[in-house]
C-alpha cells in the first residue's frame, strides 16, 4: 500500500497536533515543510475585500426598500423571530393551508387578467462596457440578486447583453459591473431614487411589448 510518495504516519500525527516533539527531527522537519508550503500558497491567494460588504448591503437595502413599498405586506415577509407552542403551531399550519388554497383560487380565478399563464415579454438589456470583466443585471424581477442574470459580452464591441422574459408591469433594475459597481441604464426612459441615495432605472412592460424603457 505504501510508496515513496506517501506521507509518513508520524508526519500526519504531527500535522494533526497529536504527537509532541519527541526527537524525530526528520518527521518534524517534513511536517513543518508541508505546512510552510501550504502557508505559502495561502499567502499568495487573492481574496475578496470590502466590495463584498458593500454589494451585500446594497442588495439587502434594495429589498428592504421594496418591502416598504408593499406596506403591510412587508410584515409578512420580513425576517423576525417568533415563538409558537406546538398546539398553536399545528393550528397555524392548518389555517395557513386553508388560507393558501383560498388565496390561490382567488388569485387564479377572481382577479381579471391573471392566469396560470401570465404573458411575458422578451426584453433585451444592453450596456456598453468594454473594460468590464463581468456584468450582470439585478432588479425587482430577480430580488436584486446580482448573481442570477449574468450578461454576455461581444468581444468585438464590448457590448454586454441579456434577454429576459418579463411579465407586464413596472420593473426597476441596475447593471452590476465587476461585482461592485451598480450602474443605472444610460438608455432608460426613467430613473427613480431608491431612497438610499442611489438611482434605479425603470422599464415598463405591457402585454404586447416594452411600453417605456
Amino acid at each position: 500500500m505504501s510508496n515513496d510518495n506517501q506521507m509518513n504516519a508520524d508526519v500526519h500525527q504531527i500535522l494533526d497536533g497529536e504527537r509532541a516533539e519527541d526527537g524525530d527531527t526528520h518527521a518534524q522537519a517534513a511536517a513543518a515543510q508541508f505546512q510552510n508550503a501550504v502557508d505559502g500558497y495561502a499567502a499568495g491567494l487573492n481574496v475578496p475585500g470590502r466590495e463584498v460588504d458593500w454589494a451585500v448591503m446594497k442588495v439587502i437595502r434594495a429589498r428592504q426598500g421594496k418591502m416598504r413599498s408593499f406596506g403591510w405586506w412587508s410584515w409578512l415577509v420580513q425576517p423576525r423571530m417568533v415563538q409558537l407552542r406546538p398546539a398553536l403551531a399545528a393550528a397555524a399550519v392548518l389555517t395557513a393551508v386553508g388560507l393558501g388554497v383560498s388565496l390561490r383560487q382567488a388569485t387564479l380565478s377572481n382577479v381579471p387578467g391573471v392566469t396560470d399563464e401570465t404573458p411575458v415579454v422578451l426584453v433585451r438589456f444592453e450596456l456598453p462596457a468594454p473594460g468590464a470583466q463581468r456584468v450582470s443585471l439585478a432588479g425587482s424581477f430577480n430580488g436584486w440578486n446580482p448573481l442570477e442574470h449574468r450578461m454576455a459580452v461581444s468581444p468585438a464591441t464590448g457590448l454586454w447583453t441579456i434577454t429576459l422574459p418579463l411579465p407586464s408591469g413596472e420593473h426597476q433594475y441596475l447593471f452590476v459591473v465587476d461585482g461592485e459597481q451598480w450602474v443605472p441604464d444610460p438608455l432608460a426612459h426613467a430613473q427613480v431614487d431608491d431612497g438610499f441615495g442611489t438611482t434605479n432605472s425603470v422599464i415598463v412592460v405591457g402585454p404586447r411589448g416594452v411600453v417605456r424603457s
Binding site: A27, F34, V38, E51, R61, N145
Partner: protein
C-alpha cells in the same frame, strides 16, 4: 457604527431581526474578513469567492430566523458559505482528475520546486480533491481550525474529518514530491 461594531454576534442578529437592517453590515464585515481566504481557497479564485460570499450573506439574511443559536452565527454562516462555494465551483469549473495535472514538471521527483510552482501545485491538488476533502483540508491547514471547530462547521464527526484531511494531504503530497 462603532457601537454596532462592538456587538456580539447574538446581539447583532437580534437587532437585525428587530428591524435594524444596517446592523447586518457588522456581521458581513466581521465574517467576510474571517472567511474570505476560506472562500477563495474553496472556489479557486477571488471573483468566484466574492460571488459565493455575497450569495451566502444574502441567503443568510433571508433565513436569519432559522439561525437557532445567534451566538454561533459564524459557524452557521460558514455552513451556508461552504455550500455556496461548492455551487460556485460547480458552475465555473469541471473536476480535474489528478492524472491530468501537470504541475510537478517533467523533471521528476527530484526537481526542486519554486515557491510559485509549489503554490500552483497545491492549487491544482485542491482541484483534484473531493468537496469534502477540500473543505476539511482548507479549514485544517489554511485556516488553522481544530478538528472540534471543523466538526461544528462541517457537521461531521472528528474521526471522519481526520480521514478526509489524511487523504487530502496524500494528494497534496503527491504533487509536492520532494517533500518527505
Amino acid at each position: 457604527m462603532k457601537e454596532r461594531a462592538s456587538l456580539s454576534d447574538g446581539a447583532a442578529v437580534e437587532r437585525v431581526l428587530a428591524g435594524d437592517t444596517e446592523c447586518y453590515g457588522v456581521l458581513v464585515e466581521r465574517y467576510r474578513s474571517r472567511y474570505a481566504r476560506y472562500a477563495a481557497s474553496l472556489c479557486g479564485d477571488a471573483d468566484a469567492a466574492a460571488d459565493a460570499l455575497q450569495e451566502a450573506f444574502v441567503r443568510a439574511f433571508d433565513s436569519l430566523t432559522t439561525c437557532r443559536d445567534p451566538n454561533k452565527f459564524g459557524s452557521w454562516f460558514a455552513r451556508i458559505l461552504t455550500n455556496q462555494c461548492h455551487n460556485m465551483r460547480t458552475r465555473t469549473r469541471t473536476h480535474v482528475a489528478l492524472d491530468e495535472l501537470d504541475v510537478a514538471g517533467s523533471d521528476g521527483a527530484d526537481a526542486q520546486l519554486t515557491s510559485d510552482e509549489i503554490g500552483n501545485a497545491i492549487g491544482k491538488a485542491l482541484e483534484a480533491l473531493t468537496r469534502e476533502q477540500r473543505e476539511a483540508f482548507v479549514l485544517k491547514h489554511i485556516e488553522g481550525y481544530s478538528y472540534a471547530e471543523m466538526a461544528d462547521i462541517l457537521d461531521a464527526e472528528v474521526d471522519a474529518l481526520k480521514m478526509r484531511v489524511y487523504r487530502a494531504r496524500e494528494v497534496v503530497k503527491e504533487q509536492l514530491r520532494d517533500f518527505a
